[in-house]
C-alpha cells in the first residue's frame, strides 16, 4: 500500500467537554488536510469546538499482552481512591 496516505488519530473537544477526546481516525496527505478532513468527517453534527490531529505513527502505546503486569496490581488498592473525603463544592468538577 505504497500510495496510501498516512493515518491520523483525531481528537475533538466537544461543546461542553473539558478535554479533547479520541473520536476515531482517518487518512490525509498532511496535517492541514487531516484537520480539514476531521472537520468534515467528525464535526458534521455540531460536535466540536476544537480539533487535534496526531499522525498515528507518533503515538506510542502499551502492548495488549502487558495488561496483566501493568494494570492488575492496582485493582486491589482501594485506598488509592479518594473516596473517603468530602470534596467542597467550590472545587468544581474533578
Amino acid at each position: 500500500m505504497k500510495n496510501e496516505w498516512p493515518l491520523w488519530e483525531i481528537f475533538i473537544r466537544g461543546q461542553h467537554g473539558m478535554s479533547h477526546r479520541h473520536v476515531g481516525s482517518l487518512h490525509a496527505p498532511d496535517a492541514e488536510m487531516a484537520v480539514k478532513n476531521a472537520r468534515d468527517v467528525y464535526t458534521r453534527r455540531n460536535e466540536g469546538v476544537s480539533i487535534w490531529v496526531v499522525e498515528a505513527k507518533h503515538i506510542s502505546a502499551t502492548a495488549p499482552g502487558d495488561k496483566g503486569p501493568l494494570f492488575e496490581p492496582s485493582e486491589s488498592k482501594v485506598y488509592r481512591h479518594p473516596t473517603f473525603f468530602d470534596i467542597p463544592e467550590e472545587v468544581g468538577s474533578m
Binding site: L26, K36, N37, V41
Partner: protein, 254 residues
C-alpha cells in the same frame, strides 16, 4: 431607494440558481469520490450549497409574491428560466476538474459574500453573513486541493492544467453586468460584478501559481447562463434527474 421588483427577483434567482445547480452537480459525487474523506467533504459542500439555495430562492419566492415556495422555483422551472452561470452546470469530469470548478466558484463567492454582507437589503445581508462562513471554509479546502493536485504528480498536474483550459472560458461570465446589476448597485443591494474582478484575479492568481498551473491566455468567455439567454446542453440533463420526482409525482412529499 426603491428597487424594481423584477430586478431584485432576477438577482436573487441568479444567486439561488448558482448554488442550486452547483450543489446538485457536487452531490453527484456522493458515493463515488476517490476516498471516503473526500466523499464526505464533497457531500458537506453540496449540502451547504443546497442550504444557501433555500435561503436565496426562499427570498426570491417572497419577492415574486405569487405564493410559490423555494421548492417550486427549484423543481418546477424549465432550463430557460434558470439564471445560474454556465460554470455551475458544466459536467463534473474527473475529481480534479470538479475541485478546480469548485475553487473558481468558491473564490468568486468569497469575494461576493464579503460585499453582500454590507448590502442595503437586510435579508440579503443576513443570507450573505450566514453563507460567508461556509464559503470561507469551501474556498480554503478547494484551494488546498487545487494546489495539492496541481503541484502533485505528473499525471495530476496534467489533468489540472487540462481542467483549467476547459473551465477558464467560463470564468468571464461571473463578471458580466447588465441592467439588473446596475439596478442592484444603484440601490446598494449588490456590487457590480465587474468591480470584483481585480480582487478575484489576485486571489486565484496566487493559488494557481502555487499550484504551478498556467492561466490560459485566451480571453474568450462563454455566456448566456445568468441572463437565461442560452444555457449549455448539460443543464437540461441535470434538471431531468434533479426534477424527476416532482415531475413524475407532482406535489409528492415525504
Amino acid at each position: 431607494m426603491a428597487v424594481d421588483k423584477q430586478h431584485l427577483l432576477q438577482f436573487l434567482l441568479r444567486q439561488g440558481d448558482n448554488t442550486l445547480v452547483l450543489g446538485h452537480r457536487v452531490s453527484e459525487w456522493c458515493g463515488h469520490s476517490p476516498i471516503l474523506e473526500e466523499d464526505i467533504a464533497l457531500a458537506n459542500t453540496a449540502l451547504d450549497l443546497i442550504g444557501q439555495t433555500q435561503m436565496w430562492l426562499g427570498y426570491a419566492a417572497e419577492v415574486q409574491g405569487e405564493g410559490k415556495s423555494s421548492d417550486d422555483l427549484a423543481f418546477l422551472r424549465d432550463a430557460w428560466d434558470f439564471r445560474n452561470v454556465l460554470l455551475a452546470e458544466l459536467p463534473n469530469g474527473d475529481f480534479g476538474r470538479t475541485l478546480l470548478r469548485q475553487f473558481l466558484f468558491d473564490a468568486f463567492q468569497s469575494v461576493l459574500m464579503g460585499r453582500l454582507m454590507k448590502s442595503s437589503d437586510e435579508t440579503v445581508a443576513a443570507i450573505a453573513a450566514k453563507a460567508s462562513k461556509e464559503v470561507t471554509y469551501h474556498v480554503e479546502r478547494s484551494a488546498d486541493t487545487v494546489v495539492g493536485l496541481g503541484d502533485g504528480t505528473e499525471e495530476s498536474h496534467r489533468r489540472m492544467q487540462e481542467a483549467l483550459e476547459y473551465l477558464w472560458p467560463y470564468v468571464g461570465e461571473l463578471f458580466e453586468s447588465d441592467e439588473t446589476d446596475a439596478a442592484m448597485a444603484a440601490a446598494g443591494i449588490a456590487p457590480d460584478p465587474a468591480s470584483l474582478r481585480e480582487e478575484y484575479d489576485a486571489l486565484i492568481g496566487k493559488v494557481l501559481a502555487e499550484a504551478t498551473l498556467d492561466i490560459p491566455a485566451a480571453t474568450y468567455a462563454h455566456k448566456g447562463g445568468r441572463t437565461g439567454y442560452m444555457h449549455t446542453e448539460h443543464l437540461g440533463h441535470l434538471l431531468t434527474s434533479m426534477q424527476w420526482l416532482q415531475r413524475a409525482y407532482p406535489g409528492c412529499e415525504w
